[in-house]
């Protein structure tokens, strides 16, 4: 039971981060959708926050 709950939490977390990225990009594609490097700060923040939000890695 526990592994599947953990998996759902991880999936929900990363889908939320993806939704943030999509919203930012749709609002200002010229700043977020022209190259992979534009997403690096968000991916860094999300990777750093993940163990804090989800409890463990």
């Amino acid at each position: 039971m526990r592994p599947s709950r953990d998996r759902v939490r991880h999936i929900a977390y990363w889908l939320t981060v993806l939704a943030v990225a999509v919203i930012l990009g749709v609002a200002a594609p010229q700043f977020f959708f022209l190259g992979f490097w534009e997403m690096a700060p968000l991916v860094f923040a999300a990777s750093w926050l993940a163990p804090k939000v989800l409890g463990r890695r």
Binding site: V22, F36, V43
Partner: protein
């Protein structure tokens, strides 16, 4: 030209070929043909398009021009330089595979690439979608994501979903880091969070940009916001074949 396919193809290749591929060098190869040229092809500006070149198509894909960057010969040349400098066959081969994957994706548009350059300047172009580099980034985003080009990106994104486990920390630690000396080198200089950022960013960008560009092209943008999935589309774009 292709958009997010160049970000996602290396991950699929890594998933399929395993430790025989260095993801970072495959990504480097996949980005390499456009690194020095694409900004000039598109010109300056977003809302307004200010051209920088008189013939951006020839510059991007042709010869004389920088079209040699979209040839297997160029991939082999740079792979040879990587092998010479690093003595790591894994990195050189991964670069070459990434570069050739980029060439093959770009061969699907109406301009195509020169697969046999420098022996021949014949163009391989399969005309699945219209090349739109000369109209600027904004209009090309509309053209690409309303044509079969957008589906090409989505194809890679959907296929890669099967391998979602490769983006977990456990997979990164157990499968990715031990298989490629690049990560050992990077580990000496930085934290695991930075390494994970390097590892994940291109895939994350691929997914976010495909979803976002579709929403933007069809729901926000006012310029031809309609899908055209017929071969050679979108048909509002003037026909652009290989340079003469």
């Amino acid at each position: 030209m292709s958009w997010a396919a160049h970000d996602l193809e290396p991950y699929l290749l890594r998933a399929k070929l395993g430790g025989r591929i260095s993801l970072v060098f495959c990504l480097f190869g996949s980005y390499s043909p456009d690194i020095l040229t694409k900004w000039a092809v598109y010109g300056l500006g977003w809302s307004t398009h200010e051209a920088l070149l008189s013939d951006p198509v020839r510059f991007h894909r042709g010869w004389p021009g920088a079209g040699f960057t979209h040839t297997p010969f160029y991939g082999m040349l740079i792979a040879g330089v990587i092998l010479l400098i690093t003595r790591k066959k894994l990195w050189a081969v991964s670069y070459l595979i990434g570069a050739v994957a980029h060439d093959l994706s770009d061969a699907l548009d109406s301009v195509g690439i020169m697969p046999f350059w420098p022996i021949s300047d014949w163009f391989l172009h399969l005309d699945l979608w219209e090349y739109g580099g000369e109209i600027g980034r904004r209009k090309d985003a509309v053209a690409y994501y309303t044509s079969l080009g957008g589906l090409w990106d989505a194809f890679w994104a959907i296929w890669l979903l099967r391998y979602w486990r490769m983006f977990t920390v456990t997979y990164f630690r157990q499968e990715i880091v031990p298989a490629d000396p690049f990560w050992g080198w990077l580990q000496r200089w930085t934290s695991e969070t930075v390494m994970l950022t390097v590892y994940r960013t291109s895939a994350f960008f691929g997914y976010a940009s495909i979803i976002g560009w579709y929403i933007w092209a069809l729901g926000v943008n006012q310029f031809h916001p309609h899908l055209d999935w017929t071969p050679g589309g979108p048909h509002w774009l003037p026909r652009q074949g290989p340079p003469d």
